[in-house]
Symmetry: C2
Subunit: 203 residues, 2 copies
């Protein structure tokens, strides 16, 4: 078993933090995305047709792509501590919050970077104007999450879950595009400080 | 229990098809999204701060937003037939395919509509150029899925899953923006014909 990964991208970090929280060790095979190794025909043919990392390779050769699919695999094999919630309602609430953090934080943060950074220049069709739409959307989400976190300790409730991992990776990746937690976002800053102080955040 | 929904949007349809496949009946409360009822302060305050449908309201007043979170709730309470897979590996594979269908089919199809349709004019900041980037991305995904489906009956393998529901809702919604399955996409057309002929597709 191993995980094709990248030390510089936000999605592989989600999986690393998840595994660190579970206390699971899996070898990582770092793919040089700066040289677009993941976009080459060989990687697409043998590992992931979409040319993305992370990808979990099981011992029988099965490839599981998509960060959350990889995390779910390990949640099934190592249920403790539960990071997707327990019971039908809590699992649905965690799924809701993880998706909200994906679609309203990580996606606009990542799309700002994709559409405005030099890194993606010439690699994908960039639309700078759309990058700014995404920057505004991300900043609005920070406002909203600051209000949400007035009432609770973690993103999905009083327990650390995969939704905190997604949100932390989004907020940290936002800084590359100068999307930052503002001084008045005290609840969001308090949350970020707490989740960043967990040993897993260094993974 | 009830579901705030819309008869014209693709995400509520995902939940309706899922429930039909499970044989579960839940009352639907149709929200008039053409009049932006879901964007009003009252809806945001009481039901979903993000102003989106569908939202499941449980009898204790808990609100579960996000289509897949709602589906997962019912998968837990009504496990048969399994639509998220069974066992750690299959569940991860289904999660992977459902996410691929979300990020590489439904998202570009929806973003084409959001950025190019009259419906969203004046409601959101539209970037027509980005809409065309998304149209191209969706068309590329159709090519790719046509190749994938040469080797199997359904999106995630030999069993109908939530990934088929997501893909069907994406492909059908694409037609609104003139994104269509081409005559040469025989595998994709064969798959669409089969999943469309299931009674659940009319839900």
């Amino acid at each position: 078993m191993k995980i094709y990964s990248s030390s510089v991208a936000p999605n592989p970090r989600r999986v690393r933090i998840f595994l660190a929280e579970k206390g699971i060790q899996v070898p990582f095979d770092d793919v040089d995305i700066t040289k677009a190794v993941n976009r080459q025909p060989e990687f697409r043919r043998n590992i992931n047709p979409l040319g993305e990392v992370p990808v979990l390779e099981l011992d029988d050769g099965t490839h599981i792509a998509e960060s959350v699919a990889i995390c779910r695999y390990f949640e099934e094999s190592h249920p403790h501590p539960p990071l997707f919630g327990t019971g039908a309602v809590e699992r649905a609430v965690v799924e809701m919050w993880n998706r909200r953090m994906e679609f309203h934080l990580l996606l606009p943060v990542a799309q700002t970077f994709r559409n405005t950074s030099d890194f993606f220049k010439g690699r994908i069709p960039q639309v700078a104007e759309y990058g700014e739409v995404c920057r505004n959307a991300a900043e609005k989400s920070y406002e909203w999450m600051n209000e949400e976190l007035a009432g609770r300790r973690f993103i999905a409730g009083d327990r650390f879950t995969i939704a905190d991992i997604t949100a932390l990776c989004a907020v940290d990746f936002g800084r590359v595009s100068k999307i930052r937690i503002k001084p008045e976002h005290r609840n969001l800053a308090r949350w970020r400080e707490e989740v960043s102080s967990r040993p897993s955040a260094k993974a």
